[in-house]
Symmetry: C2
Subunit: 108 residues, 2 copies
C-alpha cells in the first residue's frame, strides 16, 4: 500500500468516501473557495498558490479536512504539496453534488 | 414581522439562505436522516414522529440547525411542532443540491 510510505498522505479509497464528511468539508466558506479554485484549474495547484487570508495552520487544517473527506488529493513533490480536486471520484459517488455546489452563488 | 410574535420561530427568508450553513446542516447523519424522512413525506411531520435514537435535547439541536440554515420550516401548532422540508426554497437557491444529497447512498 502506498500509504505505508512515510511521505504519502492518507486518502480514502473512492468507495470509502462518505456523504456527511464531504458535506462537512464543503460547508466552510474558505474550503469552498479552495474547491472552486481547484475546479477552475486544469492542473494540480501548489497549496500556497490559492489565496486565503488565514494563518498557515488554519490553511493546513482546511486542506486536511478536504483530503480526509476525499474531496481533494494531495501529493508531496519535493518540498511542496500539489493539490487536485477528486472530481471524478466525487462525481461517481455523489452524482450532481459538485455541480450543484459549484453552480451555487458564492457567499457574500 | 411575524418573527416578533413570541411563539413564531425564526426562519431565514429564501434569499437569505446561504450555502455553507445548508451544507453544514446536511453534514450530520442524524440530520440527513431527518431530511430524508421529510422528503419522503407529503405532509409536515410532528418532530417526535421521526425516530432518532438520541436525547431530546440533541434532537432539538438538530432541528434548530436545520431550521436556522433554511432547510426546514417548523410551525408550532398547539403543543407540538410541525416540520416540513423547504424543498422549493432550497431547490430554487441551490438547483440540484437536494436531489444530489437525497440520491446519494445512505451512510452505513
Amino acid at each position: 500500500m502506498p500509504d505505508d510510505l512515510p511521505h504519502t498522505l492518507h486518502h480514502p479509497a473512492p468507495d470509502e468516501i462518505q456523504l456527511p464528511p464531504v458535506l462537512h468539508a464543503l460547508s466552510d466558506p474558505q474550503r469552498l473557495h479552495i474547491v472552486r479554485e481547484l475546479a477552475a484549474s486544469a492542473e494540480p495547484r501548489a497549496c500556497g498558490s490559492i489565496d486565503l487570508d488565514v494563518a498557515k495552520s488554519t490553511m493546513t487544517h482546511h486542506y486536511r479536512v478536504l483530503r480526509e473527506a476525499g474531496v481533494i488529493r494531495q501529493e508531496r513533490v519535493g518540498t511542496t504539496k500539489l493539490t487536485a480536486l477528486r472530481r471524478e471520484d466525487i462525481d461517481q459517488r455523489f452524482p450532481g453534488l459538485l455541480d450543484a455546489v459549484l453552480g451555487s452563488p458564492v457567499p457574500a
